[in-house]
Symmetry: C2
Subunit: 292 residues, 2 copies
């Protein structure tokens, strides 16, 4: 049986898995372990895959920033990051030195977005924004069935924002403070603003009105720029069930009927793949390398 | 000699032209006339092209909003617009009824952006934002060599903006007031804010600092979302020579070194095709229909 490999490389946790080429969602084996430094973590990755001879290709979905420009001297590297032992680490090179097979190298959010596009909440369209809102805010963006991102991968959590009139919070982004989406709307920003974890905030707390306003504003800016057919929300924060209905309502208010958009219940939606999105995305992207 | 046709359909002026397929920038004939209602204007368009038997395809670059979804019942129509005699006009249908040849139907800004991509200031890259700042603000966006826009065409002049701290202007956008780029930074917004035409404002006027700030902020949001390789500025407002250097400076300040971007002199640039961008774009898009 010919297999595909997946490496979901998160800042706190790595997940590795293998699945058959013919049915990538039928995961054969899966392991996870805490993220150590680059070399130590990738050694564990390789030990996992050493158990499998017949891997046709591997998809790598990495935390960022990473170099995704094929013609760059540091293509495949993790770039400057506060994560110890990773800045300048040649992740892709280490994998190729271990086993010289095809690798699909992309960001964690691109892979999760791709999974939504292939088999999740956006499997019927060609133009998707996948937005994850958790420890950070990031997006995987697909236009005409291809990832958007020329000079590098998007960092769409750092678009500039207008503040909510009731929000006096100074923002969490070390670069943009209260001027960007991540600085205002990531989970840690909610926690610092209100003094408790987002999970402990009741449904009727002002926190959710403000959060919905920012996510809707971001959705509006992505809509005006990209005119996607669907915006898929993943990550921990949108797990709160009241949130997406509030985002839809705020989106409609901020849009002022200016643009035609799909029915909002079909436009602003939750992930279809849940926690498997990253792994599935790796498999489907790896499959692109072997099925042409 | 086999020809291509171009229709640059503006809200105040139409330009029609023909050029040889082999060298679309060698314009054979060109005419322009004021925009009347849909039927009257398109009649003049057809009378111009009636002089030429051998037109292989025509590119139409229309003011918007227009329906660009091929599977839509109103594909090829001009949608709701304050422009008298155009709302719901079947522009493409009228052309097809006149002569049944291939037409490339898109927005004015897409066509101008395509010309920059093929032969203008972005001819060496595959990922471009073309932003025009004049009577309105609009963008033609190319990712991986294709137009971005799934549900419809972008309206990237309507992204949400954070206001400049010295700007008390209430904004011009009938939908978003002072909350969107067009409402704050289009030519008429400058004129209403300062009481004189932008052309009459001296180089050292606060107006240009504020304008540069908004254009840089927009460039930053497009950068985070799309990671283009180049942002090309067209339209009347960027004709002011001091403006783009100020946009680059403000962009660097607002970016805070967060993302890697190309050298700013190569990243934030003026159009290469000048006033011909719309016509050239029509020719090159029409050529796509006959050369495959």
């Amino acid at each position: 049986m010919s297999l595909l490999g997946a490496i979901e490389a998160g800042g706190t946790k790595f997940v590795v898995a293998v699945a058959p080429i013919e049915d990538p969602e039928k995961v054969v084996a899966r392991e996870s372990f805490p993220t150590e430094d680059g070399a130590a973590t990738v050694k564990k990755v390789q030990e996992f895959f050493d158990q499998y001879e017949d891997i046709a290709a591997i998809g790598i979905a990495s935390f960022g920033p990473i170099d995704v420009k094929p013609d760059s001297a540091t293509y495949g590297y993790v770039l400057d990051t506060p994560k110890r032992g990773w800045s300048g680490y040649d992740f892709l090179g280490a994998m190729k030195a271990w086993r010289d097979i095809p690798y699909y190298w992309t960001t964690d959010v691109n892979a999760a977005g791709w999974a939504e596009y292939v088999s999740g909440a956006a499997s019927d369209v060609e133009n998707v924004v996948y937005l994850t809102v958790g420890t950070g805010v990031g997006a995987g963006i697909i236009a005409n069935g291809q990832f958007v991102g020329g000079y590098s991968h998007p960092e769409a959590g750092h678009i500039v924002m207008a503040k909510h009139e009731k929000d006096t919070y100074e923002g969490l982004c070390p670069f943009h403070h209260d001027r960007c989406l991540e600085g205002l709307a990531a989970g840690p920003a909610m926690e610092e603003r209100w003094g408790v974890s987002a999970k402990e905030l009741p449904d009727d707390h002002l926190a959710w009105e403000i959060e919905a306003y920012y996510l809707a504003q971001a959705a509006l800016t992505y809509t005006a720029t990209l005119r996607p057919e669907r915006i898929v929300f993943g990550g921990g924060v949108p797990h709160r069930e009241v949130l997406l209905p509030m985002v839809r309502k705020s989106f409609a208010e901020q849009l002022h009927d200016y643009l035609a958009v799909p029915d909002l219940d079909d436009y602003i939606v939750s992930v279809g793949n849940g926690d498997n999105a990253g792994i599935y995305g790796c498999f489907y992207l790896a499959k692109e390398l072997v099925s042409d």
